[in-house]
Each structure stands twice: as structure tokens, then as C-alpha cells.
Symmetry: D2
Subunit: 255 residues, 4 copies
């Protein structure tokens, strides 16, 4: 419980002057894209051209996934209860936990831990899949509830390929897909979360930031849903829950 | 943006000593009920016996209302996304806005504004109902989506009656019910929110605290739902939204 | 992603009739205290007289702890940003995480795991303290930043004692205090979180509910702070953070 | 409380295919910037080149403002309490209310209401400033706590100018600045919120989306602060509140 001065290294504020990681905000506004700014503020340095384009593709890829994700339900439910726009967005962000949007983080963690080991990606991937099996862990970032093949994965890797951008994590990620198919006897393709996990890992981002990229990406989608709820629906309409039955104690008396 | 010392008058903390509104916390633990403590911390003084019993009945009355309220959906959705217990409870509280749980506040506001006017309750109520009609406002705290007659209203007023507790707001509230029935030609009975609004107004609480009493009351219910979700359901199950269709633009090309 | 009917066993709602765990809400309002209702809705059964009194003391004990806890900062900061009462309360609940208010949960977990082992409390406690030392874990629920001796602990155990209420967890808890003092060479007394953890464990509550009891208890305090902020302070006043310095990159140019 | 199918027009999901406002997500990833995607998802159509560049400058402009904004305090406090990254971000978003980040919304509302009136901008602005004075309203989006001249305003208008992008709202905004200076006798310059309000109004966005643009813009900053708190600070450190005194009741006895 010390009152000592603490340190922050993100943005410097002086009267009439704002600099983000050392760069004047007016220069940033003039010369950087939003995606480059995200990279800068989290990494501390400017991205290469390839990194800038990939970061943009990442942030665009998960901008919305329709009305079914639970975070949309969170945002719409808060809005429907008669609350402000920021509360509705906070409600959506609050839902994005380990089971929803958490795969980037978990997938990146595994890739980052295994990528430091010696060996070529194929051998590592094979060993990793055996380890997952023995630990009964489902590899996060692979497979999807709705998409057999996630179109966003192919596009993200295509862009990386075109730009000649690849590293140990992307290679490991692709090797895991092959090893999973071989050992499971059926394909369990990389989904967008797994692909993002591989790319941000090659960019050198800490896996603990994984959920953060997803949240930045999904924010415009949550905003669009909040706005639709605000302008197209009545308050307190029935959004859920789906049909349920009471199975608790029967009527009884106190005493 | 001043750094001057500011004031707080709720709880005094010294090493080994805690006092709430001047009362030693160990005395409060020994002698006061939770309901009396709620009254004390918000009002600054101890309640009478009647006020203590009524405050308890108020806090108990809204402890839960099954799985349908949107705040339950908020809590369960956050929990289902793979989040912590406190995040799930925060998610439920976040939903309790103007359209859900907001009736106590709005009803108390109207009663507190009208109770200061001259005239007997019946005359005031008649005037109030005419004003509501001309302003096209639905009187908050009257009528219920599910209950034709809210059993909690009758019980709360019965307890107040037994204890001989009544004041201008309770009288005005009952008069409004009569005036509404007379002018609408059909009953629009006081619901539990309206009854609570009347009682806390007679206790002298600011209407702006209305939602707070509802939230304290509903907290154990939200906790019970969070715990059920945690222990009986799988993460990311489908809780909502109810069936929807896409009616946005058809497929098209960029450029 | 099934749409099948799911089950809930908390509250049954029918037109004009509400029952909590089988008990009619009007009976609950008439005959049960708020503390008894909390016990009922989470446990499914009515508490004994001793359990009712202890549950009340628990819920009262942590009702507020002045302006310093981070949850108060959370609530006041949200209110100060120009938000609604429920958003401010949600903001406070959101702060109550593993490092703030999390000790009940963690302490109860350890006690519940060790209480199932064979042996008398003193021997178990000695073994537990050795284990904590070897794992370099600080026993949660013991020691306090401000109070050398937590007055709430003594009172809670005094009430339990007066009511003849004790069980294996309370005994283990007291034995841990002795073992810690003996092995550390200086006292590390049970704080209110540790005491609550022991009592709710003897009541048979799952440790995963620990944070929930704390949140219910603290809600009136957060409400009082939100109301003070709303009525005594201007929006956007400086609440924090305490003094800081920028230590990020110096001014530089893009390109 | 209808269970009828409801409509959403944002994103269409089919197995293996995702389209945002009709555009295939893989095309969007390939061809659009994040800023263009934000415009698209909220407006339903693609922006012009000028609009795309301005939207990017808007989203970059408010990416962070150092450690003092209350939303940073909210995010850091939630993180410091021992919570997940998404809860910390939600905590920050929750703080962004009417008094913090609310100026874009309020400023855009006034500009959009006045821009529909007849008359040239200078005459309208003069009338508007008189009206503000008579209503004792401070024009939102003008003046700043720290910056006498907000460098982001000049840059945003410079970009608009270079691109030949201007409309009735930008003109009105600049005329208000002149009218305020003339009538107040001292400058009250447009701040970044006012400038953003003018530009999004000329783009045709509903003022009710104002806070949304600010939140999207600020998200990377909140993430950077959450990450700094996670990696550079200990849990439960003292972030606030600034010095306070207790001024409540003195010690007293119950009964």
C-alpha cells in the first residue's frame, strides 16, 4: 500500500502535446493506420509493411459473427434492460471469457511454449498432439461449431504467404493441423482463432494479449448489435433463455 | 482536477476498529439484522422495529423471480462464456437498467414529487392519473407481465398494516391504484416495485436509491443462478437469442 | 448447441404465485430474515437457528470497509464518469477478484480439501502449514493489511461459541492459526475472510460460493459509496491514480 | 414477450461463409482497412476514400490519453483486483459515461439538431451560443482540461481540408468556435471530441453512436494499460482514491 510514484510507458501527455510510444499523435493520425497503431501501442515499435497488413486482416477478420455469439447476447441483453451504450458494450466484453474468444490466448500459449523447444515443426507437432491426447486436452484454435473450413483462416495464411511472412509459430500451427488429421483420422482444421494465434506469436506478442486482439476486433460488431437493438427493438423483449423447466423442490411450508 | 482531501461519512477504519455510521462493527454483527444494517448504512440512523421488519420484507420479496428476467440471462451468459463468479454477478447487475428493475426508482420519484403537494391522497391521485394520461406516461410500479395480482404487494402492505406503519406515500400509492382502476375501467394493480417504492418513500429514502434496494434484494438470486450455471451446465451452451432471421444486404462485391 | 429444454431448481413462477425452493414468497417475506433467505436459496433448505444467526453475522460483517478497498474505487470511478447506479455497482463487483475478496474462496477451498483427511485438527494444521511453506503459498484468510487483530473474527467465533456451533472446519481454522504462530514465530491471526470461510464450510457450502457471500455482504457498502459520490461530489473529479511518471520512449519521428 | 422470429441485418453466417453487410469476410480482410470496416458495419455502405482516411484518423486520434482518464483507472483497478483481461477492459468501458467520453455524443446531437435549421452557419452558431447561454449549458466538445489547443483537432480538420471533405456540420462546428470566442471574450477551442462529432455528423452517423467511436478508438489504449498493470505491477497496489477524511457520525452505542 505504497503511495510512491509508479511508472507508465504508453503515452506522454503535456499541454498541447500527446505522444504514443514516442510518436506525436498528429503524426500517428496522419501516417499510421488503426491496425498499425494497435501494433505500436502494444509492441512499442512500428510494424513492418507485412505486419501492418496482417494486423489489419486480423482485426478485420473477427469484426462480427452474426447474432449467435454469447457476447452479442450480453450486449443486447444489457441494452434491452434500458442501459447506456457503454454499459451494453461492457456487457458484451464481459462475456468474452475462457470459453468464448479465449481460444486465441490458449492456442498462442501452447504454440509459444512448444516453439521454444528444439526440433523441426513436424516432429514437434507430432509430439504435441500425443501430449494433448495423454492430457485429454482439445487443441484450442482448431475446429469450429459452424464452419467445417474456416474461410478466414485460409485468407489470413494466404495474405501471409503473399507477403512472404512466416515464422516458427505459423509453421508449427500448420504442422499441428497435419498431425491432428493424421492421428485423429479426420481433419480438425485451424480456425480463425488458431490462425490469429500463430500470426501474433510470430509477431512476438505475449499470448496473454490474445483475448485483447479479439476484443478490439469484435468491438465494431458489438456496437452494431447494440445500435440495432436500440433502434429496431423494444426494451425488455424476450431474447432468452431458451425453454426451461423448474425441477426444484415442490411446494412446502415453513415450520 | 484537485488533489484536496475529500470527505466520506460511511465507515471509519482504524487499526483493530471498524465503525459503520458510528456503530462498532462487532456491535452491529451482534445486534443488527442485515436488513437493519442496510437501513443504517443508507440512512445513517437505526430503523424502528416496524421499519426493520419492513426493510427485511422488501429485501426478501425480490430475491429471485425464476429464470426469465434479463438480469438472470446476463449473469448466466457471462458465466457460460467462461468467466469468474464476480464477473457473472456484475453482468447481471449491469442489465438492471431503466426497463428492468427501474420501476421502483421511477415510481418513488413520482410519489415523492406528488406527496409534497397539498391535498388529500385521493384528490392528488386523481390529478396524477390525469397528468399521466395527458403526458402519455404509464404509471411505473403498477401492472405485471405475469402476475395479475402481485402476491408480494399484498404481503408487504399486510405487514405494514399489522405494524401500524403508514404514511403519505403508501396512502398515495393505494389511492393511485383506485384512481387508475376508475379511469382505465379495469384494474392495474400495484406490483411489488410500486409497493416497495411507497414504503421506502415513507421511510424517507431518496428515490434515486430505488434500484439499489432491488439490486441488493436480487443478488442472492443472481448468485444462485450463477452457481447453477457453473455446476449444472456446460460452457457456451445456447441460452439465446431466440430465433432470428438475417434481413441485411444480399451478397455483393467490393468495387 | 442444443435447444432442448434445460432445468432450473431455484424459483418457480406461476401467475400470482412465486415459490423459492418450494416456499411461498409471501411466507418467506413473513417468516424469514434476509440472511435465512440467502441460506435457503443457496443451500435449498432452511438454516437452523444457529446457522441463521451466523449467516446474518457473516453478511453484516463485511458490509463496508471505508473508502480504501479497490471495489469502492471501481464503483466511485464508474459513477464519477457519469453513469447509472447499476453500472456503478457492477463496476465495484467487477473489481472483487482473486486479489480482493478472493480470500474466502481460497481459504475455504484449502480447509474443505484438508478437512476430509484423517487426523485431529492440530496434526492436520501442522502438516498443512508445512505444505504451504514447501509450496511457498501464503495461507489465505490470515493476516490483514490494516488490522493486527481483526475484530470481526473474534466476534464471529464468539457468536458461534455462544450458540454451540462448531465443526471440523472451524476447529481446523483455529488450529491453523496456532500452527502458523508456532512455525512462523509470530502471530498471523485469522482475518474475517478466514473466519467466514471456516463457518460457511461447516455449514456445508461449496467453497466456490465464497466470493458470493462477500459480494452480497459488501453490496450495501458499495451502494452507500455510489450514493455519496452521486450526491456529494462533482463528476470527473480526480480519484486516482496516485502519482506516476512516464518512462516510455522519448519523442521520435515516423520514418 | 413474444417468441416470434426477429430480424438482424449485420452479418450473415452460413457454414463456411461469412458476409458483413453483404461483403464476403475474406474480401473485407483482403481489401478493407479496419477503419473502412467500422464505417461499413455501422453505415451499411462502403466509405469514400476521404471518409476512409478520416475515419482512420478519428479512430487513431483517441487511442490513448495517458494514465489520468478515469477509464484507465477503471481498467487498472479491475485488473489489480485479480481479474481477467476481458473484465478489466469491460471495467474501463463501463466508466466511459456521460461525463467521460460523452462529449462526442452530446456535441454531435446539438450539431445535428441545429444543422437542419435554415440559415448560414455563422448566423446559426450565433443563435446557438445565445441559446446555450440562456439555458446555462456548456457547449460539449469545446475546451479541454489539459490542452489549451487540442493538437488532434487541428490535424483532423487539416486532413479533412486536404481531402476537400467538408459539410454543414464541420462548418457549423467552426462557426461555433468563432461565436464562442466572440461572445465569451476568450477562446474556447474545439477539442478532439467536438471535431470528431462534426466529422461523423457530416458522414451521416447518428449522434447516438458517438460514444461508440470513442470506445473503439480507446480500446487499444485500455488494453495497453491493462497489460502494463498485469506485467509491471503487483495486485492490490494502491491506485487511489486520493486523500480523504471521515466526517460521518462519531462512535456511539446501539440502544
Amino acid at each position: 500500500m505504497s503511495d510512491k510514484t509508479w511508472k507508465t510507458g504508453i503515452t506522454k501527455i503535456e499541454p498541447g502535446k500527446i505522444s504514443v510510444k514516442g510518436y506525436d499523435i498528429t503524426d500517428v493520425m496522419e501516417k499510421l493506420s488503426y491496425a498499425e497503431t494497435v501494433y505500436l501501442i502494444l509492441k512499442g515499435e512500428l510494424p513492418s509493411k507485412a505486419e501492418a497488413e496482417l494486423m489489419n486482416a486480423i482485426l478485420v477478420s473477427s469484426v462480427d459473427h452474426g447474432a449467435t455469439p454469447p457476447s452479442v447476447l450480453g450486449t443486447r441483453t444489457v441494452m434491452s434492460g434500458g442501459n447506456s451504450l457503454n454499459a451494453a458494450l461492457a456487457g458484451g466484453v464481459l462475456v468474452i471469457g475462457d470459453s468464448h474468444g479465449g481460444a486465441i490466448e490458449k492456442s498462442a500459449r501452447i504454440m509459444q511454449e512448444w516453439a521454444t523447444k528444439d526440433g523441426d515443426p513436424a516432429a514437434l507437432a507430432s509430439e504435441l498432439v500425443d501430449w494433448l491426447k495423454s492430457e485429454k486436452i482439445r487443441m484450442p484454435g482448431f475446429g469450429h461449431r459452424i464452419h467445417k473450413v474456416d474461410p478466414r483462416t485460409a485468407k489470413l495464411f494466404e495474405i501471409a504467404n503473399r507477403l512472404g511472412y512466416s515464422g516458427r509459430h505459423i509453421e508449427l500451427c500448420k504442422a499441428i493441423e497435419k498431425a491432428l488429421a493424421a492421428k485423429l483420422g479426420k481433419p480438425l482444421p485451424i480456425n480463425v482463432d488458431g490462425a490469429i494465434a500463430a500470426v501474433i506469436s510470430d509477431m512476438g506478442f505475449d499470448w496473454r494479449l490474445g483475448k485483447g486482439f479479439f476484443i478490439i476486433s469484435r468491438m465494431p460488431g458489438l456496437l452494431a448489435h447494440a445500435y440495432e437493438e436500440m433502434t429496431r427493438e423494444k426494451p425488455m423483449r424476450k431474447l432468452g433463455p431458451l425453454p426451461f423447466d423448474y425441477d426444484g423442490p415442490d411446494y412446502r411450508d415453513i415450520d
